[in-house]
Subunit: 141 residues, 2 copies
C-alpha cells in the first residue's frame, strides 16, 4: 500500500519553520500574550526564552482561568500575571528527525506539535492542517 | 484500495451529538461566553438560539478583539457586549447525510464542523480528532 511508506518519512519537510510561528517570550506579561493571541487570531502559541529555547504553550483560556474570581473575571489582576506562571509545560514534543507515524499519533490529541532539537532549541511546529492535507493526498494514491 | 470506500461513508456515526457539545445562547453576554470558554477549556464553541437552531461560533479571540483599545484591553466594555454581535457566522457547515469526503475537505481548514439539519437545527459537531483517528485506522487496512 503506497500509504504506509509515507508514515516512515521524516517530518522535516512539513514543519512550519520557527520564523513563521507567532510566539511570546517567557518573561512577557499575560496581558501582552493576550494581545498577541488576539491580534494573530491563533488559539494557542509557543512560549520561548531569549535564546529561542522552547518553554511551553499559552492560550486565552489559561490566562482567563488564572484571573477567574467566584463569578466574574478579575481583570485588574492581569498586569501582575506573567506568562511563565500560567503556560502549559507538560506536553508532547517532536524532534526534527521524528517520522510521520509519531506525529500522526500525537496530533490525534493536539491541534499542533512543537518541534524542538536535542539542545532544546525551538525549530517550528507541525499542525493538524498539514497532516490532514498529507493524509488526503495519500488516500488518493 | 480499502481506504477510498470509507470516504463514501456517511458522517452520522462519527458526529458528537449536540447534548455533549458545550454551547452558549445567542442572547448571552460576551462575559458569560468567556466564562463558559474558560471553564470548558474549549477554544471555540457553537452559539445556538432558544430552539436549538445554529447561529454561529464564538471564541476568546473574537471577544478580546471586540474590546481592544489602542494598546490595552478595555474590559469595562465587556458587560455591554452580546454574543450575537461578535460571533462568526460565515463558516462551512455539514448536513447529517454528508459523506466523509466532504468532511475531510472542510476539516483541512477548521478545527471542527457543526452539523445542522435542513430545518437549521444543530445536531452536533464533527472534529479533527475523530477524522484523524479514522484516517489512521484506514491507513493500516
Ligand atoms: N491566519 C490563518 N490563516 C489561515 N488559516 C488559519 C489561520 N488561523 C487559523 N487557521 C485555520 O484554523 C485552524 C485552527 O487554528 P487555531 O488558531 O485554532 O490553532 C492553530 C494555532 O494554535 C497554531 N498555529 C498554526 N499556525 C501558526 C503560526 N504561524 N504561528 C503560531 N501558531 C500557529 O496551530 C494550530 C493548528 O493550526 P492548523 O493550521 O492545523 O489549523 C488552523 C488553520 O486551518
Ligand atoms: N476536555 C478535553 N478532553 C480531551 N481532549 C481535549 C479536551 N479539550 C480539548 N481536547 C483536545 O484538544 C484538541 C483541541 O481542542 P480545542 O478546544 O482547541 O478545539 C476543539 C473545540 O473548539 C471543539 N470541541 C471539541 N469537543 C467539544 C465539545 N464537547 N463541546 C464543544 N466544543 C468542542 O472542537 C475543537 C476540536 O476538537 P478535537 O477533539 O478535534 O481536538 C481537541 C482534543 O483533541
Amino acid at each position: 500500500l503506497p500509504n504506509r511508506d509515507f508514515l516512515e518519512a521524516q517530518i522535516e519537510d512539513f514543519v512550519i519553520s520557527s520564523e513563521k510561528v507567532a510566539h511570546v517570550q517567557v518573561g512577557n506579561s499575560a496581558e501582552h500574550a493576550l494581545l498577541v493571541l488576539t491580534k494573530t487570531g491563533y488559539s494557542a502559541i509557543p512560549v520561548l526564552d531569549m535564546k529561542y529555547h522552547f518553554c511551553g504553550l499559552i492560550n486565552a483560556q489559561r490566562i482567563t482561568d488564572a484571573i477567574l474570581g467566584l463569578d466574574h473575571i478579575e481583570y485588574e489582576r492581569l498586569p501582575d500575571l506573567r506568562v511563565e506562571d500560567i503556560m502549559e509545560t507538560d506536553l508532547p514534543l517532536l524532534k526534527p528527525d521524528d517520522r510521520f507515524q509519531k506525529a500522526l499519533d500525537l496530533l490525534i490529541d493536539q491541534n499542533f506539535l512543537c518541534v524542538v532539537d536535542h539542545e532544546g532549541m525551538f525549530t517550528g511546529i507541525l499542525t493538524r492542517r498539514v497532516m490532514l492535507k498529507q493524509l488526503k493526498k495519500r488516500i488518493y494514491q
